[in-house]
């Protein structure tokens, strides 16, 4: 990453046009990317009985991308991001269950906007603290939201979960079917949209400034970069995307359990991110795919094997592949950034 920073630095001194060209070259689509997104469509033909699982993966991948934006790019370690996922899920769920408005697209927008708004407020708290205190504040906010939802059981259904959600057909045309054709198309499309937005962000000069904050917070003000503003902005965006993924879950499953806000969910998503590789968006997607596929297979046998496996995997990845699976592959292929 340091090389990247110096590269840009030298290029900006040459000419503003050169650095823009460099940013543009970074955002060019590679063959692998196009192949990957085409491959996601193959699920329809090869694994039609796994479409519900596939839509779960797409939802989780979008959530992992939102965490990658703050953790992988801006370096904010968060153990409480399920807060925004759950907010989005409850917002979309309540809109349908209590207000009787089950139109999915407006539901997504509403949930995303609400999560983003709460994220914006929370971001003022987040940028005040660092290190252990930061981890504890994110953890505390996450637990706080969980307890709040539990206490407001007249609204959220508490531990019984929120029921009575009725999601209308998308655009009035595509009804949610039992096999998950609509669910997977819907979640995949939203994932792709969220990915495009995130990709645009991280390949912009703003994304570069975020990486600067991650690498060295103290130097950013020295080069005239208002890093707190940057952090607030990305935290808000990330919260909105997390809310989007939560809303998808509520709409495709027509139920919201208290679990959407749990610490387990916050921790799991960070685990996925680390497995896949932080700071490269595709790491988030790959991590979500591996995590959920392995869990689906292993927890069928015995949930304890699953915990043992994931724990061991985490320790091995941290010790031997600190940049995750994608980072390790990139290094092997000699294409490390």
């Amino acid at each position: 990453m340091n090389r990247e920073a110096t590269l840009t630095a030298t290029q900006t001194t040459q000419a503003p046009g050169a650095s823009l060209a460099w940013l543009r070259s970074r955002s060019r689509w590679s063959v692998f990317e196009i192949a990957f997104w085409l491959a996601t469509l193959l699920t329809f033909y090869f694994f039609p009985s796994y479409l519900m699982l596939a839509s779960q993966i797409a939802i989780t991948a979008l959530f992992a991308i939102s965490v990658d934006l703050v953790l992988g790019y801006a370096g904010i370690i968060t153990l409480g991001h399920a807060m925004f996922f759950g907010l989005g899920a409850y917002a979309a769920g309540l809109l349908s269950a209590k207000a009787g408005w089950g139109e999915p697209l407006t539901g997504l927008l509403f949930a995303s906007a609400l999560a983003g708004l709460v994220g914006f407020v929370a971001s003022f708290l987040i940028v005040r603290v660092q290190h252990l205190a930061l981890i504890m504040v994110t953890l505390g906010l996450g637990l706080l939201t969980y307890e709040l939802a539990n206490a407001l059981s007249w609204l959220t259904g508490g531990t019984d979960g929120l029921r009575g959600i009725d999601t209308w057909p998308i655009l009035g045309l595509f009804d949610f079917d039992l096999w998950g054709y609509t669910a997977y198309s819907y979640t995949l499309a939203t994932l792709f949209l969220g990915f495009l937005i995130s990709r645009r962000i991280v390949n912009s000069s703003f994304g570069l400034a975020l990486r600067g904050v991650r690498e060295n917070v103290r130097r950013m003000p020295a080069i005239g970069s208002a890093y707190r503003g940057h952090l607030r902005k990305i935290y808000t965006i990330s919260a909105a995307i997390a809310g989007l993924s939560g809303a998808l879950l509520a709409q495709t499953t027509n139920t919201v359990a208290l679990e959407v806000l749990s610490f387990q969910r916050s921790a799991d998503v960070v685990v996925m991110l680390i497995l896949g590789g932080t700071g490269r968006l595709y790491g988030a997607i790959l991590g979500a795919i591996i995590f959920l596929l392995v869990r689906d297979q292993l927890s069928g046998i015995n949930p304890q094997y699953w915990y043992f496996g994931i724990g061991l995997l985490l320790m091995v990845v941290v010790l031997f592949m600190p940049r995750g699976i994608l980072g390790g592959l990139a290094r092997l292929a000699g294409r490390d950034q």
Partner: protein, 287 residues
């Protein structure tokens, strides 16, 4: 009403003392090496299971199983520290957090494999059961025992840290590791000893906790949050801070659950966030 308040204060203080024993080790090692060890609660769980096994399989009395829990947790922790944790001292917070979370997962799975998911009850000796009546109020004997033991440990820790050679070395290393090393202190050795002592105390806390909160494979996770709150609120590397933080959390937790059961936990977390935002280094933190 006054009676209720006294009982809640008493129970809360006893719970707080339990939290203190569980978390003081983490506070000191965090202050010493800046190593975020989320597996600290797992050492507490280890101590708990060692005590249970010692009492059931070996038929040892409760009081003898306590030091056994301490020694087992200390030995295992120093083994893990020497072989695994030391590689991560310079690895950054995120890697430390993840590695130790991985360790918690693995330890929970091993505990389930060996003992099953059920609670592990123990039978206390007769003189620790029941309660005594003072001025019309009933105080649990075990909780009195807990407070006495914890206060003794606190006195021992404060004395050890203030008056012994090792204590002076630990204080020096916490204040400024580089200068301490420059003066010829073997900081790594000091750290290994501190780590073993701290984890041993967690193991002891785990054994003491069985009667109050029970013991199952989720112990490491469940208490992680409490332990982290104590450390973060009390401030790193401060015994006084941990003591105050633990007492505050214990009393707050019990009082919250007694007087406002619906939002008790909510208030605890609200307090945590508020304290951290007002004082990011904790109530007694210096750095």
């Amino acid at each position: 009403m006054i009676g209720n308040i006294v009982i809640v204060l008493f129970d809360g203080f006893a719970f707080g003392m339990l939290l203190f024993v569980l978390s003081v080790g983490l506070s000191v090692t965090l202050g010493l090496m800046n190593f975020i060890n989320l597996a600290h609660g797992a050492f507490g769980m280890l101590g708990g299971y060692v005590a249970v096994t010692a009492m059931r399989q070996l038929g040892l009395p409760f009081l003898l199983s306590l030091p056994l829990a301490f020694i087992a947790a200390a030995l295992v922790s120093v083994l893990i520290e020497r072989t695994l944790f030391r590689r991560l001292y310079r690895a950054g917070e995120l890697n430390q957090v993840l590695f130790t979370i991985g360790l918690v997962f693995v330890s929970a799975a091993i505990a389930t494999y060996l003992f099953g998911t059920g609670q592990q009850p123990i039978v206390l000796p007769g003189w620790l059961r029941g309660s005594v009546e003072i001025a019309g109020l009933r105080f649990g004997v075990y909780r009195i025992f807990l407070i006495v033991v914890s206060l003794a440990i606190t006195a021992l820790l404060v004395f050890g840290l203030e008056r012994t050679r090792l204590g002076a070395q630990i204080r020096a290393a916490v204040d400024n590791q580089r200068v301490a090393a420059g003066l010829g202190l073997n900081v790594e050795r000091v750290f290994a000893i501190t780590f073993a002592l701290g984890s041993g105390l967690a193991g002891l806390g785990g054994a003491l906790a069985i009667e109050i909160v029970g013991l199952d494979p989720s112990f490491g996770f469940h208490f992680l949050v409490y332990v982290l709150i104590v450390v973060a609120v009390g401030g790193l590397g401060s015994i006084t801070g941990s003591f105050a933080g633990a007492a505050l959390l214990g009393i707050g937790d019990v009082a919250g659950k007694y007087f406002v059961p619906e939002i008790g936990s909510f208030l605890i977390y609200l307090l945590l966030v508020a304290i951290l935002l007002a004082r990011p280094l904790g109530l007694f933190g210096k750095r």
